[in-house]
Amino acid sequence: MVNPLMAKADLGRFGDRAFKGLTLAMALSVFVLIVVIGAELARGSGVAIRQFGWRFLISSDWDPVNEKFGALPFIFGTLVSSAIGLLLAVPLSIGTAVYLTELAPLWIRQPLTIFIELLAAVPSVIFGLWGIFVMVPWLSQNLFPLLQKTLGFLPLFQGPILGPSVLAGGIIVAIMVLPIITSVSREILRSVPDLQREAAYALGATRWEVTRIAVLSYARKGLFGAVILGLGRALGETMAVTMVIGNSPQIAKSLFAPGYTLASVVANEFSEATTDTYLSALFAIGLVLLGVTVLVNGLAQLLLKTFAGPGLKPQN
């Protein structure tokens, strides 16, 4: 007669192993996924890579009819719209994060946080819709002419104003990355030990000085990580940008000129790619996009991990 306790332990052991195996298999799926993503994109872009090689990245020819493909206009468009987006979003986000954690009255903090979370929840295509029908017309009638009048001596602001432009794309990217930079910055600022603030107050600093000296300098690395995370998001932003950037594969000096991003060209032309080379070129663009976003996001994660978290070491 088997000891009942031993019998249970045996069952438990098999159940333990099975359960652990099951959950392990599910967790390992992330590795499978990332490998599959990379492999599938590499496989799809094989034809284009064999045909164009590295010239793909530096050629600015995008000619589906003659089957000549170069990704430079899209790299340019993505970089410019992301740069403008970050330039606009980072000061606003960090300012808001500072406001939320240091300066705002307590009753405002929760509703404001909810607002920002709602902003993050709005789907990209809805921002694009609003962008096409509200933002771009308003910009081309109000802000853009104003910019051209005041800053028109710069080649950046010369040229015809059509509406859809890299500048419009940059602005909408800024709106899309605001919530993520704000929330992550807020978490970073909250994790700064109160001791730092109290020490500054004890030395007679004003509220702003406490923020500047004790909080912001301490949180510099984490805030940088938040910005890089926002950059990662900006690079991959597809729908809203596609709808306002003009979708024209050109490299122009003016910010008012239409542009094209890596993600937008794939979104627009993928289902209409008639030949193998065309489709493969789009896969190659997807591969470039994947590579860049994985690098940027990986960097952001590293920066954030070495900074954030309760019980962190006070030295660098």
């Binding site: 359960f19 599910m26 992330v30 599959v36 599938e40 929840a121 819709l129 993928f270």
Partner: protein, 375 residues
């Protein structure tokens, strides 16, 4: 000079505080503007017709987005079938079984996956699920030309179709693997893709009864294209996995260790302790995570562009293309028709109401969650 810069410091202080509050105002401004326009432009168009009718043909006024709304719900349901089990179980592993280095790498990879652009997900699933499901041709051999080499086949409709055979073509003719072993009249199933100005055979099968049966079950004998609801649901489900993985892990970490120790002390098997005690305690948080992932995925357009593809009619089979709300909004918005623009606003309002409902539902679920600082 340095003694009395009090005024300077005070002014800077006030100035900076005002600036910071201005930042906060500017940040919520786009949200307010978008909501305002959504309601003003879209609210008037949401009526019973809009919610229950199919879209009208191009250019005609009227119609609705019933299939898109139903499509979004269908896709979300199917995506959950993939995303929830894998994500939750994976999160359980991360939280309950400690393998320092492995877990760190899993977390890192999951976070990287969360940052992969949604359009890239779409391209990958396109390559995996859309392309292989495209257009099998079932027909009888008419002639074989080994010189080019080209295979001419009479399909079910009686049209002669030509297929180029190249080095990549896979032959699977029940033992015979040569082009020259084909006789006119042989029944074949040919999987092919269009290339340049012709069709290239990818895979040539004999039309055995069980193959035809499988095709019929999958609904592929009628499929017009490889775009399918299954592909759309798969890409959304895959996107949900890393999201749910991380949120489940974080929630399970919050369950006090005492619960685990008490359960083990009472003699419960380890896996039962996890499955029945820890997970049950954290259930509300897990559901929250799933709902948040659903809300995120409901609004995704880019990955659906070449997986689900969109449909002007009801979808009857999962292997057919399916309409979805974000897709419909996008297509209508970039169209030149005013009536479609109006419907795009209405659709967008429905979508944002759906997403907000999920998010606010999550908020009420987590209302009694305490936080240490009141910020």
């Amino acid at each position: 000079m340095t003694v009395t810069n009090h005024r300077w410091r005070k002014t800077t202080n006030v100035f900076m505080q005002t600036l910071a509050s201005l930042c906060a105002v500017l940040v919520i401004l786009p949200l307010l503007l978008v909501f305002f326009h959504l309601v003003s432009q879209g609210a008037s168009s949401i009526n019973w017709t809009f919610l229950t009718r199919l879209p009208k043909p191009v250019g005609e006024i009227g119609g609705g987005m019933a299939n898109a709304i139903a499509g979004t719900f269908t896709l979300m349901l199917l995506a959950s079938l993939l995303g929830v089990p894998v994500g939750v179980l994976g999160g359980i592993f991360l939280s309950e079984y400690t393998h320092r280095r492995l877990n760190r790498w899993i977390r890192f990879t999951a976070d990287v996956l969360n940052g992969v652009p949604s359009i890239t997900w779409g391209m990958v699933v396109y390559g995996l699920l859309v392309v292989p499901l495209v257009l099998p041709c079932r027909g009888t051999v008419r002639s074989v030309d080994p010189a080019k080499p080209v295979l001419t086949v009479l399909d079910a409709a009686g049209t002669a179709q030509e297929f180029e055979v190249d080095a990549n073509t896979r032959w699977d003719l029940d033992g015979r693997h040569q082009m020259k072993s084909l006789r006119p009249g042989t029944d074949l199933i040919i999987w092919y893709h269009s290339s340049g100005d012709g069709q290239v055979a990818d895979h040539i099968n004999s039309a055995s009864a069980w193959r035809l049966g499988v095709l019929a079950i999958m609904g592929l004998h009628n499929s017009v294209s490889g775009f399918s609801a299954l592909a759309g649901a798969t890409v959304l489900g895959l996107m949900m996995i890393p999201l749910i993985l991380r949120t489940t892990e974080e929630v399970l970490q919050l369950v006090p260790t005492g619960y685990r120790e008490a359960a083990l002390a009472l003699g419960i098997a380890h896996w039962r302790m996890i499955a029945q005690i820890v997970v049950r305690t954290a259930m509300k948080g897990i559901v929250t995570g799933v709902l948040l992932a659903l809300a995120r995925v409901a609004g995704e357009t880019a990955p659906l562009l070449f997986t689900a593809f969109g449909n002007a009619y009801w979808t009857h089979r999962l292997t057919e293309p399916i309409a979805a709300l974000p897709l419909q909004i996008f297509n209508y918005a970039i169209s030149p028709y005013d009536d479609w623009h109006r419907q795009a606003w209405a659709g967008a309002l429905v979508l944002i109401l759906l997403v907000s409902a999920i998010n606010l539902g999550v908020r009420t679920l987590t209302r009694d969650r305490f936080s240490q600082r009141k910020t």
